[in-house]
Structure formats: C-alpha cells, structure tokens
Amino acid sequence: MKQLALLLTGLLAASHAIPRDWPYDQRPSAALPLGDLPGTLVEETPRRPGKRFVPPELNELPANAWGDLVREGRAIFIDTPARAPRFAGNGMSCASCHLGEGRKPDAAPMWGAWPMYPTYRGKNDDVNTFQMRLQDCFRFSLDGLMPPLQSREIQALTAYAQWLARGTLSGTPPPGRGFVPVKRDIEPSGDRGRVVYGMKCAVCHGADGEGVKAADGERYQFPALWGNHSFNRGAGMYTVRTAAAYIKGNMPLGRGMSLQDQEAYDVALYIRLKDRPIDPRKGWVSDFARGFTGL
C-alpha cells in the first residue's frame, strides 16, 4: 500500500511536470487547482457544512519587500527544515499539521489564529503574543529551538499569517479556526486505537509511526507520529483531546470528519502511549520517573 501511495504521488508529480528544484515562490498556491479536472466528477456531500473564511491567494501579493517577506514566510511554513534550519528540530514543517499551507479550516489555520492573539494561554498561564505562540511551536511541535522574536523567521511567519488573515475581524474567532469540537466524556482505549491505526493510518504514517519521507530523503511527506523525529511531550498534540480533535477534523487525509469521536480518541491515546522526545521543560529524570508515576 505504501509503495502504491508513493507511486501515485510520483505519478501526480510527473503528470504536472514540476521540476524538483522548482522555486517555491513560483509554485501555484494550494488554493488554485493544479490542472484541468476530469469530467467524471460526482458531488460529495459535505461532512461538516457551514461557512468558512477564504484566505487570499498567493498571486495577489505585490512585488515589494512586504510581499517578499510574506512569500518567505510561506516558504518557511511549508518547508521548515530547509528554510529555517537553525531552529527546526525534527524533520517536520509547520504545514505538516497546519494542512493546506495553513489554509485548511479545522486544522488550526493561520487565518484563524492571527486575529486571536495576544491571548491568554493556560499552557504557560500568561498572555502570549502571536510571535510567542510561534516560538512554542518550534520548541515543542518541531522539537527545536525557539527563534528569537526579532529573527527573520518569526517576522516572515508573522507576516504570512497576518496576510492570510486579511479581512478577518480582530479578536473575533472566524468560523473554521482551531480544531473541530469533540466530546469530553470519552474513555479512550489504546488497544482499539491500535486497530484503527492499522486500518486507517498506517498506510501513510507507517506501521511503526515513522512517517514517509519525501523523495529527497530529508523532509517528510507524511510526518512521523512517534519516535525521535516526531513532536515532543510538551506539544499540544501530546494531549489526547487535542490530538483527537485534530484527527477527527482532518484524518485520514482528505477524509476529515469520517471517524467517530471514540475512534479519534482511541487513536490519539495509542499515539500518545508511544515513545517520543521528552518535554524540553522537564529533565531526563522526570521523564524517566514518568514511567512510574504515569504523569
């Protein structure tokens, strides 16, 4: 199955004849169709009907220094290991989770995040600016280093997010921000999660959660879900309910809202119970003790 998926990906790339070293700045946006659609299309019933915010398209950016900064932010967003190598830790990019270059609703889109910051976060019991939130993503989800607030990477990512949020109302959550709501009173089961994982997730993320690397062998086509190249124990995805909300709204890729809440919780717990990098806020001793205390 994995070979088939790789083959299909390769065929897709070949059919559109995008050269490997194609500059990201000239690649069409994810909001634009890549080619002509076939005529044998069926209408699919929307799984989560409702209104969504539509961010602007890449070709609307002007050719000036600000437009360059936004394009650079997009390049960092979709290829973090190559464009922000000094801060990226594992092989993942921002867009590994923030699907569709940070545009997809219910996958924590950037246009949903920008207007809500600065905001209070229980994670550090303080008011966080958008830039501090980006730092947390690098530190926990990318298992890397926090970029300084004045670094080019932070400035570019901020400019990209703010541009995507063009027209959203400051302080008002646009529909589709964050993740989909999931029930709270659910007892997850790792055993059931293993079964669901094998049926629905392993084809892309691998039987051992190792993900699938892109053709260059460095970046991830499908991110690793556990192990040394995944997010660490400080990331938001390490929380079962957060991960379940993400999984329910977005997974399997392209078929979001197809899992039950119970299934999403089960898979989330199964992933959580695996080994991964430690929480950088804690030391190795407390991580070792975690095996005894269960915390």
């Binding site: 008011v127 501090m132 302080g171």
Partner: protein
Amino acid sequence: MNGWRAWVLVLLTSPSAALTPVDAPLPGNLVEVPVAAPGEVFIPPAMVDIPEDKQGDLVKLGRRIFIDTVNQARRYGGNQLSCANCHLSEGRKPNAAPMWAAWGRYPRMGDTPGEVKTFESQVQDCFHFNLNGQSPPLDSPEMQALVAYSQWLASDAPTRAELPGQGFGAAAPLAGAPAIAPAAAGSATRGQGLYRAQCLVCHGSDGQGVAKRGGGYHFPPLWGAASYSAGSRFARPAVLAAYLQANMPLGRGGSLTPQQAADLAAYVLAQPRPGDPRVGLMQRLRSAQ
C-alpha cells in the same frame, strides 16, 4: 445631559424625591454645531469592555503606558511625552493615527526601500525618535502591553483593511471631509502669526507646552529639549502639516487650510529641537558648517 448626571441632579435638588431618573430639561439656547468631518468611522470598544482576566490586565497596563508613558515606561522614555500626546484620546481619535487602524495594517512597507515595518518595530521607532528614548525590546512587558492594548482597541476591526480615519486621514479621508492636499511650501513668518493666534494659548509662547504635576504634559512641547527629536516623522513638514490640519487646534480639526497647516509646520520645524539620535554629534557639527 447623560444618565448619571441626571441622577446626581435629582439627588442634590430634591432629597425627598423617590430615586427615579429624571430627564432634566435642556437649556433653550442651544445651537447646532456643524460637523467638520462627517462620515462613519470605526468605534473601538469602551473601557468597561476590558475583560477581568490576565489579558485584560495586560490591556489595562498597555493603556496606562499609552497615556502615561513618562511614569509607566520610565526606563524607555526619553523626554516627558506620552504616546497619547499625539495619538489623541488614548489612541482612539480618527485621523490622529489611531491604534485601532494601525494594528491591522502592519507588517507593511517602510519608508526606506526594501524595509518592512512590523507593528512592534513601529512602536520601537516611536520610543526611539518621538519620545527621544530607547527602543523597548520585543519581549519587554511594555511592548507586550502596548501590543495587547492596540489589538484590543482593534476588536472586530478587519485585518489589513484601509479604514476611514486611519493615519492622518490622507489615505482614506472620511466621507464628506475635505481631501488633504499635499502641503504647499510653508512660510515660517506667516506660521509665526498663526501660531500666536491659534496655538500659543495651549502650547505656550516658546512652544514649551503645559506640564502636568506628576510628570508628563497636558499640552506637549512643540520644540526645545523636551520635544520630539529631528529623527521623528513629525520633523518632516508634510507629515506634520497633515497632522495639524486633521487635528489642530484641539477639538477643531479640519479648520486650518492646507496652506495654513504648511505655514505652521514650517514655523514649528524652524525652531531648535533634539537632534536625530541616528546622527552623531560630529556629523551634526560638520553638516552645520
């Protein structure tokens, strides 16, 4: 006469009366004031809408810094000016570079080619040049509080939109307001006469302003050691003239003609003020020769 004053009136005048609000009769000799700049503008939220939580605390701190920079951001302030000395009405007044319009417009192109200004770097520039002080670091509580205050003022304002009343009103003037023409060449001599007639009552005969008792200024100094530096954007005649025409005399913005504003700007900028902090003393002496 608004509600609470009516209440007070009732309580003071008829102590035996029941506590029912009474609309006191208005005096008969009222005149209609013509609206100088009609049109719809964004209305930022009121103070009572600040939530009672940590974010609300940061917003309140940001407001205090904004209106009392002298005391609340002492370590970065240089002269005795506050943000609200120019950003009138606590950063709310349209056409006085209101914060609710500025928040959504950054990052944007700077003045020098290839420069992109973020909101934070613009705040730093305000401290550096207009307050003639030090740039607060990006992670300083002062910076975070000012960002939180601006974002709260911009509650429900659209991101990256051109709003009426932004800046000094030049980019998107209010509907019906006179378009601000590019400032003509001003005459400092004519400006001096205008200054004496229209500005001196608040800003003083020597532009020294009126100081508050606890530090800061009721009316800011327009030149001299306590005023903004030559590196400020207000040291450019066109920018200062646009601000003057939109906001001055206080409460009567739009009453000056473009030529009058240009004359006043020429007069104000002909007076001595602190030098550009980017330019060293030797360089200043050399250029003076």
